[in-house]
Symmetry: C2
């Protein structure tokens, strides 16, 4: 198989822009005439530090991140953040609220419970996580509220930021940098890089300084956000190649016209597939309620269960990769992150129509 006939709908790690990979390939043995790969350089040398700082600057510019926020590169993915957040911000006698919208919210609250008191601000579990909640019961004295902005497994996504009067922390692992957002509505945003930003192994955290100032200081050094702030994310050796790639992906987003343009593309891409589902008269059924649908992860079933496996098999044969739903829920899922081209979504829409025409 070649890249031209492979339609990469992987849920993460997932598609990267071809031009980013081509540039990385060209420089892989000799980065900017340094005589070395970017992977072979000290993280304390000028060449890498310029790459590191440029990536931070690009993130600041694309998201309009005000100067009272820090931008950090960490390791350990969202899974480590699930613990680091309560370890840093949830003290004895305090409580944290969690908005429950899927499996990742469940994992996040589970880790917080190991540290302190938690409660559910809202949950759509009873509706099989088919929708995003619209009312939020924030209790008096809540230290922070945690939300998952996009739910990869169930295919739902917040369309607006909850209007909540306590520090709001968002796991944006699966829709970071997919659209413009108002960063100032959040005390903290974090994301694993491996869906919209680059290869796996890098975690981004954007944290407001006054919120950071309230963090506990008795945690292991490497698990304190303050450590990474003080050292510009160079306290220990960062995943240098991953951060370099992340910077290149951000450059690519700029080249696309920025987040407004990328968002328009994402809306168009998702619509191509949702339109087939909605026009299929029940041959395909979407999992998420329409007003909660994710632009990143399009989850659906082939209504005739016997046909579903055949759909997945034929799709794989036709070059579509990653269409199986998450192993916890089954069904089908097309992840159409930033780097998935319109042409891939068009090809999938066409394939779905052709499959339906054969079997309806």
């Amino acid at each position: 198989m070649n890249r031209e006939t492979t339609y990469n709908f992987n849920a993460g790690p997932s598609a990267l822009p071809t031009v980013v990979l081509e540039r990385a390939q060209q420089q892989l043995l000799n980065f900017e005439e340094s005589g070395m790969s970017i992977m072979e350089m000290s993280h304390r040398g000028k060449v890498y530090e310029a790459v590191h700082n440029a990536a931070i600057e690009r993130m600041r510019k694309l998201y309009n991140i005000p100067s009272d926020y820090e931008v950090l590169f960490l390791q350990g993915g969202a899974s480590l953040q699930f613990s680091m957040i309560p370890m840093n911000f949830l003290a004895e006698g305090e409580k944290a609220g969690y908005i429950m919208t899927g499996s990742w919210s469940e994992k996040a609250i589970k880790e917080a419970k190991m540290v302190g008191a938690t409660y559910e601000v809202a949950s759509t579990k009873d509706n099989h996580y088919k929708n995003i909640p619209t009312t939020f019961n924030v209790e008096e004295g809540t230290r922070y509220v945690h939300m998952t902005s996009n739910n990869t497994i169930f295919g739902t996504q917040f369309k607006t930021t909850p209007d909540i009067n306590v520090p709001l922390i968002a796991d944006m692992s699966s829709d970071i940098m997919s659209k413009p957002i108002d960063v100032t509505k959040f005390a903290m945003i974090y994301a694993g890089a491996q869906k919209n930003l680059g290869p796996s192994g890098v975690t981004v955290a954007i944290i407001r300084k006054d919120f950071l100032a309230t963090a506990k200081t008795e945690n292991p050094t490497v698990l304190q956000y303050a450590t990474h702030v003080k050292n510009n994310s160079l306290y220990h050796t960062p995943p240098t190649f991953g951060i370099y790639m992340l910077g290149e992906v951000l450059k690519w987003i700029e080249e696309q016209g920025g987040l407004e343009a990328v968002n328009q593309q994402n809306e168009m891409k998702a619509a191509l597939i949702y339109d087939v589902i909605d026009g299929s008269e029940g041959f395909y059924t979407g999992h998420a309620d329409k007003d909660s649908r994710s632009l990143m992860n399009i989850t659906f079933r082939v209504a005739d269960e016997a046909l579903e496996q055949q759909f997945l098999t034929e799709a794989a044969e036709a070059g579509f990769v990653g269409l199986n739903g998450h192993r916890s829920v089954g069904g089908c899922r097309a992840s159409a992150y930033n780097a998935v081209p319109v042409a891939a979504c068009q090809a999938l829409a066409d394939f779905m129509k052709a499959f339906m025409a054969k079997h309806k």
Copy 2:
């Protein structure tokens, strides 16, 4: 500059074998005819899982790791291990012993102190960490003893494994896979990958199962070794590209003839430079005592301090990269990890001799 005229003596991240980078470059956009980069694949897909498991198998084979040991790929580098080890293995009322041989030992014990009781089994701090201790005072009831097998900053290295009657844990970040070792002498070995194994962002841990079985279970899920054992290091998204590269570096070690052959090369490489120091009649002075000298990090001074900066400047102009000593100690350091070719060490030895001839 090009690779041929660049002599990469970086302390880490550091040189990678050129052939490994060339293979990665060739496959960067289309890994094994999958139509995708290895970076763009699900960590739960067959292609990546084969890469992941092959890397574990190669590590087992090269180190003769018995089946009663687990091999894990983690994130967060040695710095996170400094905390994870006591969090997992040091309980209330227990104590851990640390062998103090340099800055990394100091960082390791500092984090352990945040978790439980510690003491120094041995220390060469009073001798400016110029040597490896030879006597070890292990107290009754010690939970584990921690050592740093090679000290990047001071340029010392254990030549034999301390004969200690409690579980021995070694930070081998800077000499893992540089020579054959008897894994069975250790309860646990860990290492950041970025010196001898691959790019930064991957941590390797090799842990004996009966020692693992004694770990505490009340830690955050992602900070429990048991979590990663249970999930074959796929509990959360691993740094897939880094693990792929690590596997390729291990394959390259095999192609060199295995660890015996690599060790011979490393001895020859270090001797080239140490011989110049020893034959310089005091023009160059080595930091480490001769019997404690590291084959990985060769630390030295130009005895005339006024000349030292000139040495470093001229060396940089001549294509030698990374020769400045660690910012905490100054002086000069040549890191000659596995992937640094003999020719680079020969070139450095020649340069040192020529510089001495001009200025002595």
